[in-house]
């Protein structure tokens, strides 16, 4: 069997994390190519629908990055997203998806190492968890 290479969808807030990801590029700080970044206006825009859409399309993991607490450009979008993620995690377990496949973190717009470390650690975690079971059922 060929080595499992996970595919991870990362939703990045355009104010903080998306800029940090650009800085990662500018400073040539590498992270796994498994991370596929999607820009959103605020982490608060990410609804459970989008997360489930990612899983049903074969994502092995979903990451969400918002601004630090108190630093959200929309006052509390990041915390609202955190709440949704918390609730969705409970549901993921019941449909047979390990809730560890979904993570949300808050990063400031200068937290390069933090962002990259989260990406690396998450990829490693997903590698251990193996492929998305929905994908296996569909016979991918």
């Amino acid at each position: 069997m060929k080595k499992f290479k996970p595919t991870i969808v990362a939703f990045l807030c355009r104010w903080s994390a998306y800029g940090v990801a650009d800085i990662a590029g500018i400073s040539r700080t590498g992270y796994p190519s498994s991370i596929r970044i999607i820009k959103v206006p605020c982490s608060g825009r990410v609804s459970p629908l989008h997360i489930l859409q990612a899983f049903s399309n074969g994502a092995d993991g979903v990451l969400i990055f918002g601004c630090l607490e108190g630093g959200c450009h929309y006052i509390n979008g990041n915390l609202r997203a955190m709440n949704r993620v918390k609730q969705l995690k409970k549901m993921l377990n019941t449909v047979g998806l390990n809730s560890d496949r979904l993570e949300m973190h808050l990063v400031g717009s200068c937290n390069l190492n933090k962002l990259v470390n989260y990406m690396k650690e998450f990829t490693e975690k997903i590698r251990k968890l193996g492929p998305n079971p929905l994908k296996l059922k569909e016979g991918w």
Partner: protein
């Protein structure tokens, strides 16, 4: 959505060799050609260069492209550049999607060229899929009223009003008290210039020193400023450019036009009460002028203590008094609102004997006492017997940095205490002054000199925590017991001054409800972003300045007032409020009127109509999409980030 078939053009930038040395752009181009609805795909060395931009424009026209996908650097770099090209080529600038294959691929996966190319293909596919779902986004323009409401007539409000009037706006200044000037008028001398509070240096038009007295007079006489004293904002409706404001003007009972401030009415008034302006250090009548320096120089009747005996009405030579005056309601249309409601001193009731002993006073009372035009004519006395004190102890951080009262640092009390200690030492070198502190924080520009000067003048500094204050009835001295560096010690004083923290001014909470803007837990107004939007609020068109956000020095209050006025000017100057409609939008067929969007919107931009359908106020929407994520019916969408647009990206990055 356009009915014309999508004709997607893909432009892959090699960025010199920056992208091409990691990613196989040729195979990327071949991949792009086979993607759905792509009619043209090409590579280019430098798409952002002048000739690259021309190439882009020509290709759009030649191949009749209507959706543009650019695979290049981060959209944060050149999105605006490329959008302008689209506009020039006759396309809506929002029909552009950028795949970030430099920052997110070439530069971070240089050790894995195969993986990078693979990922770039996915990013490109996502961009193409998303591009086919993009919509044209128009620019909206709403006419704006060229007038501004300033709430609060302290130094911040006055400055903002004057600046805005200079810009050419019609300004309405609303002050809840009978006079303008705020806290600054009460302070005696003010730092860092050590001149009197009424003679500050608010540089406006002339170069010489100008006193607040004159400054306020400028406000009162300015052709474009209308002042409402004794007034409160009762209701606000609308949005930036078009706020409808209702003001309640409480009766002053004295006609401002007729009164010449002769003072005869005051002499015949039978009622005498403590004067709040001097914090009870002097008395006033029911008809009064708080201080000879106040403006407008008009008497006012305090309705709470007036018994309506009518003596003043009989004696007034100008018939200026009308005891039957009723509150008025005034409606105004304004384009923006500046909140400058300021702060008040914390009342340390029951703390260290304040309220029980008259010789326990606050720094603001001491300021009144040291003011040459104050109740004691500038003499330092003990309140109880009018004799000069010999030993003064100041206690810092009362009602400040204290979890039991106010946990925050009030910022300015250290400097106030040092200023007063210095004034006392210079006037009465024989008086002992001791300051008991937690930390001395004098971080302002040039303020450290207060500390060094005080040290030189012999002010004693004791770091410690006050445990108890007891008054010895025999010696009539206060015994202050405190713990300093683990040791207990006792200080003696015949005048105890509490450096109190500052709290939001009365009515801030009610005003926040009227304006729909947010308060911090401590009751001060909160800015939209602590660093990048320090003047804005969560409501577009409402700005903050001065101590409404937290205790600040005069200099900073003036700074913020100027910042707020320029913010107002920026948003209203064109006479229109212009904005791209990348805003939330409701599909009325799906809306179930559950109000989740209304409740979740941080900016009050969504209202549910009487028919039970959500409406987005586009000028207030800030494009976060929280409502769209929360909507259970899928009726609320954010344009340019609709569900189908985000889902297209998700599908693109995942599916082969």
């Amino acid at each position: 959505m356009m009915e014309v078939n999508n004709r997607v053009g893909v432009f892959i930038c090699r960025c010199g060799t920056e992208i091409a040395k990691v990613i196989d752009t040729k195979s990327l181009k071949e991949y792009a050609e086979n993607l759905p609805e792509v009619v043209f795909a090409t590579e280019h060395d430098f798409l952002c260069f002048k000739e690259g931009l021309e190439f882009l424009k020509d290709a759009i026209e030649k191949y009749k492209l209507n959706r543009i996908v650019i695979a290049a650097c981060s959209p944060r770099l050149h999105e605006i550049t490329f959008r302008k090209v689209l506009e020039k080529a006759g396309l809506n600038p929002f029909l552009l999607e950028i795949a970030n294959i430099r920052e997110q691929c070439a530069w971070v996966h240089s050790d894995d060229p195969e993986g990078a190319t693979e990922k770039a293909k996915h990013l490109l596919k996502a961009a193409v899929l998303r591009a086919t779902t993009l919509e044209e986004i128009e620019e909206a323009s709403v006419p704006a009223s060229f007038s501004v409401l300033v709430i609060g007539g302290g130094i911040a409000g006055i400055t903002a009003a004057l600046k805005l009037a200079e810009y050419g706006f019609q300004v309405y200044l609303v002050e809840k008290n009978a006079t303008l000037g705020g806290k600054v008028l009460q302070l005696g001398t003010v730092f860092p210039t050590e001149d009197c509070g009424v003679c500050m240096v608010p540089y406006v038009l002339e170069r010489h020193r100008k006193c607040l007295f004159k400054y306020v007079q400028m406000v009162l006489t300015h052709p474009r400023i209308k002042v409402f004293t004794k007034s409160v904002v009762e209701n606000v409706e609308g949005f930036i450019g078009n706020f409808k404001v209702t003001i309640r003007k409480n009766p002053r009972y004295v006609d401002e036009e007729k009164c010449v401030a002769c003072g005869i009415c005051e002499e015949v008034c039978p009622i005498e009460v403590p004067n709040e302006f001097d914090l009870g250090l002097s008395t006033r009548k029911a008809i009064y002028m708080p201080s000879p320096h106040v403006l407008p120089r008009t008497y006012v009747i305090d309705e709470d203590c007036c018994n309506k005996c009518g003596e003043c009405v009989k004696i007034c030579p100008f018939n200026a008094i009308n005891l039957n005056e009723k509150p008025q309601r005034i409606e105004l249309n304004v384009g923006a609102i500046v909140v400058a409601t300021g702060f008040k001193e914390f009342k340390p009731k029951g703390i260290y004997g304040y309220g029980s002993y008259p010789d326990v006073i606050t720094q603001l009372m001491l300021a009144r006492m040291l003011d040459p035009s104050g109740p004691t004519g500038g003499r330092l006395v003990r309140v109880s017997d009018g004799k000069p004190p010999s030993k003064i102890v100041m206690i810092q951080c009362v009602g400040s940095r204290d979890p039991k009262t106010n946990p925050y640092c009030s910022n300015i009390c250290c400097t106030i205490a040092l200023k007063h200690a210095r004034n006392i030492k210079e006037l009465y070198p024989g008086v002992e002054v001791t300051i008991v502190y937690k930390d001395i924080r004098v971080a302002g520009k040039n303020y450290e000199k207060y500390y060094t000067i005080c040290e030189k003048l012999g002010v004693r500094f004791v770091k410690g925590e006050v445990l108890s204050v007891v008054r010895n009835p025999e010696s009539e001295m206060f015994e202050v017991e405190l713990e300093s560096y683990g040791k207990r010690m006792k200080l003696f004083a015949d005048l105890l001054v509490l450096s109190c923290g500052f709290t939001p001014s009365n009515g801030a909470r009610e005003l926040a409800e009227v304006l729909n803007i947010n308060l911090r837990q401590d009751g001060f107004f909160v800015a939209a972003h602590p660093k990048l939007a320090p003047i804005e609020t969560n409501v577009n068109g409402i700005f903050l300045c001065g101590a409404a956000q937290g205790p600040v020095y005069i200099a900073e209050a003036v700074n913020q007032a100027i910042a707020a006025s320029s913010k107002v000017a920026m948003s209203l100057a064109g006479g229109n409020v212009k904005t791209y409609l990348t805003k939330a939008i409701v599909n009325e067929n799906y809306c179930i009127g559950c109000r989740v969007c209304e409740m979740s919107c941080p900016f009050n931009a969504v209202k549910v109509s009487s028919q039970g359908i959500s409406r987005v106020i586009e000028t207030m929407c800030r494009e976060c999409g929280i409502c769209a994520a929360e909507c259970p019916a899928g009726a609320m969408q954010l344009r340019n980030y609709r569900d189908e647009q985000i889902n297209a990206t998700i599908t693109g990055v995942l599916k082969e």
